[in-house]
Symmetry: C2
Subunit: 246 residues, 2 copies
Amino acid sequence: MSSPRIVTAALLVIGDEILSGRTKDKNIGHIAEYTTNIGIDLREVRVVPDEEDEIVAALNALRHRYTYVFTTGGIGPTHDDITADAVAKAFGLPIDVDPRAVAVMRERFKPEELNEARLRMARMPEGSELVHNSYNKVPGFRIGNVIVMAGVPVIMHAMLDAVAPTLETGVKLISTTQRADMKEGDLGDALRAVAKAHPDAMIGSYPFWDESGQPNTNLVVRARDQAALDAATAAVAAMLAALKAR
Amino acid sequence: MSSPRIVTAALLVIGDEILSGRTKDKNIGHIAEYTTNIGIDLREVRVVPDEEDEIVAALNALRHRYTYVFTTGGIGPTHDDITADAVAKAFGLPIDVDPRAVAVMRERFKPEELNEARLRMARMPEGSELVHNSYNKVPGFRIGNVIVMAGVPVIMHAMLDAVAPTLETGVKLISTTQRADMKEGDLGDALRAVAKAHPDAMIGSYPFWDESGQPNTNLVVRARDQAALDAATAAVAAMLAALKAR
């Protein structure tokens, strides 16, 4: 039996404003959920400042390690938008204004609006493919396994929707969630034994406060095949029943 | 004149649930804002899964590079909480239940509640200092320049409040924000010239949609000394006035 195909990704969030706390990132959670749902495992996220050396180093560390690297941020029209140049440098490729990108931008901007600043948004490394942006036209791009998207969430969403159907996907992680109605510390010892007995499932324990303000726990089982998921889920349910019958 | 003292930090977020999108991280934004406000520059964030090798590798990459590394997540009572062991491994230190941590936990838990699972929360690498947790007692810890905190936001907040006064801090970044009432693409060329003329300030441009739904731009100037901040802020204001007078 061949092992299930696993497709991985990393996300590189680019922007001083995230690291200063001025802007609260909303892209990590969206991309994490999106990739999980289509069968791509998000394995790592990094947030780096708007500094070329930092972006290049992170990109080169990530792109050799994962099937895909998504980036968000730094592709606008101002001087602090340096992602495209950093990506070109990471790949050792020349970069210039892409006529296809300019053609798309003409659908939105009047000729007099296509100033030097806006034309910077059409710069991409040689050999890039455009990533369509249904929200406001200005495209992202893909070069090799790196997909470069805007940081503004509504635009990033449009770009992710456009690029997702072109990506290779693997076997989806499937999951179940059981509400324990117990404190995490009261089930930890029993759960450890269940996890050890079910190495082909991943079992996560997540404390929360329930609607009556009591400490409670969600037990999440994840697996790549239904039989493993079912077996571990049943074992967790049996464990909870046994603990409550004490 | 000596250059201003700069204190840096990285944040390592540990948890499969963030990478799967099941839990939306709220700690990055809080820690970013908090460290900025006390004069510590958050320079990098990484999110890694609950896997020892990944945690160790990220920790060793970050702790040699920044003044401090904060971690969040993975210090609860269940089998998937492996942060303390990974930190010990990264430092090459033995790890065991710390009697000081147990003593603190006795203030909250009855003897029969201090089972194996809960006692795992008292494990820390040899030589650690406890990080007080005013919310529910169970402490975090600090070893070397690494500060290990809970992932649950309300508990992380308590730990950060406790550890912050013990940290070295540097010269704060101070900032101004000017609302441009212009599209980013219409001011990008002029702003590039202002940024070039003020290399001792960092000028960021952040598009947003304003209350009437129009594309607008916030221009943020950041600097470490007041004179540089004032000069760049005035230059941005003059630039905006000139563009609007056209």
